[in-house]
Amino acid sequence: MLNFLEEWSFFGGSILLIFIGLYGVLSRKNMIKILISLGLMDTGVNLLLVALGYVEAANAPIINSVNPSNAAAFVDPIPQALVLTSIVIGTAVLALGLALVMKIYDKYSTLNISEIRGLKW
């Protein structure tokens, strides 16, 4: 029973996080809030990826003196490697987004996305 609840909380939690982020991107008017919810979605996905690699009662996939290098003892390392790169990409995108928001603010002097309609066609 516990195992099911435990399992469910990881997946459910991260998918819930993704939906919150998605809702944030779609509905918020303020650009910075949009970017924040985008970051939220990213973390949600990363959490899901790590959760996928979960193995019952195994410890983190770091080889050091404490635990020897037999494969069974570790959680599946590949998703965690993926998460590393995806976090890097997420931050890069957010940084670029914030820089763009600054530039747009200079031009339109507003952060409200619905007012920025320069490109109507």
Partner: protein, 621 residues
């Protein structure tokens, strides 16, 4: 070696383009030389019908072979093309002196000639399609090099219409290619014959669509007026003389070589003629009537003549559609004669435009005193167009009448009669407004056109009278063609054609006409000498006449007659096409307003929606 007829003009085109940059006359001279060369070599290979050539190419896994062959029909059209382009080129050596786009003009003109040769000699659909597209494109550039704004729009509409038709052609042709495995005409014809009738009729109609557009028959004639009216003055004769005829070449190929008539033989017939070809003939009749009515109303010379070309095309399609030997030879005769006298008219008008610079009829007048030779050329041409005996126009119309009366098609005959009688009206209008009546002060010192422009006109007058008196010359090539296409020939001699109800002896009539003329001259000579008096010195029933401008009756020449058809002319077909395309493309506008409205959140929302919809669809199936 048939491909030389395509590559020689193409190569010369680029040479003409470069040379013309330096000296304005070079381009036209090269065109003249090339068409003379083509004419000569064509004359040499007359009769060798077995001359053919094919080369195949495995392209992207498709086995394609390009066939070319010389048939009497294509030989005739090729000779006509090269002859008319020779005359126009000689004419345009001088007349293009002040034409801004003359080098582009000559480049495209030679390319058009080359591509027409390609179309004529093609024996398989792919080559036909390639050269047909090339012809459309190059003539598009030619038309749009005319008067700025309107020429552009006219050429634009012309190209869209022919591109749409070309695509229907391509679709049908590829469908046949899939069934028969090759593009050639023979296997396609044989496949269509033993295919289910409705499907092959549909296929053949799709294939003939571009030819209907190019021939300017009723529902698809919308582009002809603007294209001819606004094309550069040197290209209009070629456009209405030759380009319209290439459409008929295609139609003849579809009707006879692709055995369209054999297919529809067993469909329900009206008075012995399958309903579908009677429908085509009716279309021709309607073309005559609309062309004539609209021609009478025009104020612009070239537009008037353009409409008259449309109505003359109606005669040709009637002749071809009723498919009797008389009908076919009548239409072929009329096709050749129309080419001759229509290009004379256009050349004469081009000469007038070259000297006066305007195409509006009411802005000129009384030019007979300054340009007698152009007047003579125009007079002979309109006598031929109206179909008055000693000229070739009468013979072809007479043969078509014989064909119609022989089979008793009343409505077609009615339209044909209407067309030819009304042609007196719209033919006389330019004569009286441009050449006769008062000579405007600003045109006092106009000189006759230079020699190089006179020669083509003189040659064409000679040809009109020659074929008027000796139709036999035309008839022996036509009988070759009907023989090749499997239609029995009409018996004829050098100067008479055996119609359904009687032979027609043109030499005899010519002598009688001359005799009558001599007697009248005698009566005129015996009487007293008459005193020459100026144009303004006329009986003006009491009014005081000051300037020639107000004393020249030219504007709305047939106003009473036009009043009968005002409402018909108002709802023109072009309006219908314009609105159709306009609101089709408006839908694009509303489409954009709904979706691409610039709000990024909507875009993100759409991607999620797509996911949801597709998931739902996947889940249901």
């Amino acid at each position: 070696m048939l491909t030389k007829y395509i590559f020689v003009p193409a190569a010369a085109a680029f040479a003409a383009y470069i040379l013309n940059k330096k000296n304005k006359k070079a381009g036209a001279t090269i065109t003249a030389l090339v068409s003379a060369y083509l004419l000569l070599s064509l004359a040499l290979i007359y009769g060798s019908w077995e001359l053919n050539q094919s080369f195949n190419l495995s392209l992207m896994g498709y086995q394609l072979e390009f066939l070319m062959a010389l048939t009497p029909l294509s030989w005739l059209f090729a000779v006509l093309t090269s002859a008319i382009s020779l005359l126009i080129a000689v004419f345009s050596i001088d007349s293009q002196a002040d034409f801004k786009f003359s080098s582009v003009f000559n480049l495209n003109f030679l390319l058009v000639i080359g591509s027409i040769m390609g179309v004529l000699f093609a024996r398989d659909f792919l080559t036909l399609f390639i050269f047909w597209e090339l012809m459309t494109w190059t003539s598009f550039y030619l038309i749009s090099s005319g008067k700025k704004k309107m020429a552009g729009r006219a050429a634009y509409r012309y190209l869209i219409l022919s591109a749409a038709a070309a695509y229907s052609f391509l679709m049908a042709v590829i469908f046949i290619f899939q069934q028969t495995g090759s593009f050639a005409f023979e296997p396609a014809a044989e496949f269509l014959l033993n295919n289910s009738a409705p499907q092959s009729i549909l296929l053949l109609l799709a294939i003939s669509l571009p030819f209907w557009v190019k021939a300017g028959i009723f529902p698809l004639h919308v582009w002809v007026k603007d294209a001819h009216g606004n094309a550069p003055k040197e290209f209009s004769p070629f456009l209405s003389g030759m380009l319209l005829k290439v459409g008929f070449y295609g139609l003849i190929v579809v009707f006879h070589q692709l055995s369209f008539f054999k297919i529809i033989e067993n469909t329900i017939a009206y008075r012995g003629l399958p309903l579908l070809s009677y429908l085509f003939a009716l279309l021709g009749a309607v073309t005559i009537i609309t062309g004539t009515i609209l021609a009478i109303r025009q104020e612009d010379m070239k537009k008037l003549i353009a409409y008259s070309s449309i109505s003359q095309m109606g005669y040709i399609i009637i002749g071809i559609a009723i498919a009797t030997p008389l009908g076919f030879s009548g239409s072929m005769l009329h096709l050749m004669n129309h080419l001759i006298f229509k290009s004379t008219i256009f050349l004469a008008l081009a000469a007038v435009i070259y000297r006066t610079g305007t195409t509006k009829m009411y802005e000129v007048g009384g030019l007979i005193f300054r340009m007698p030779l152009t007047f003579a050329a125009y007079l002979t041409a309109i006598i031929a167009l109206a179909g008055i005996p000693p000229t070739n126009g009468f013979i072809s119309k007479w043969v078509i009448y014989q064909a119609l009366i022989e089979k008793g098609y009343l409505f077609l005959a009615l339209a044909a009669f209407f067309g030819s009688i009304a042609s007196f009206m719209y033919v006389f209008k330019p004569l009286s407004t441009v050449f006769l009546g008062q000579l405007k002060p600003q045109h006092q010192e106009i000189k006759e056109v230079p020699l190089l422009m006179k020669i083509p006109m003189l040659i064409l007058i000679g040809v009109i009278v020659l074929f008027g008196v000796f139709p036999g010359i035309q008839m022996n090539i036509i009988s070759q063609i009907s023989g090749d296409l499997g239609i029995e020939t009409v018996n004829y001699s050098l100067y008479s054609i055996q119609g359904a109800f009687g032979a027609w002896n043109s030499l005899y009539i010519f002598n009688v006409f001359a005799a009558g003329f001599v007697i009248a001259l005698l009566v005129f000579g015996l009487a007293k000498k008459s005193k020459l008096v100026g144009l303004l010195d006329t009986y003006s029933s009491g009014e005081y006449v000051t300037d020639a401008e107000s004393y020249h009756y030219a504007y709305q020449y047939y106003r009473p007659f036009d009043r009968l058809f005002d409402n018909l002319a108002a709802k023109s077909l072009t309006g219908f096409y314009e609105t159709l395309t306009a609101n089709l493309l408006k839908s694009g506008e509303s489409f954009r307003r709904i979706f691409a409205a610039g709000r990024v959140q909507n875009y993100a929302l759409y991607s999620v929606l797509l996911f949801v919809i597709l998931a739902a669809v996947g889940w249901i199936i």
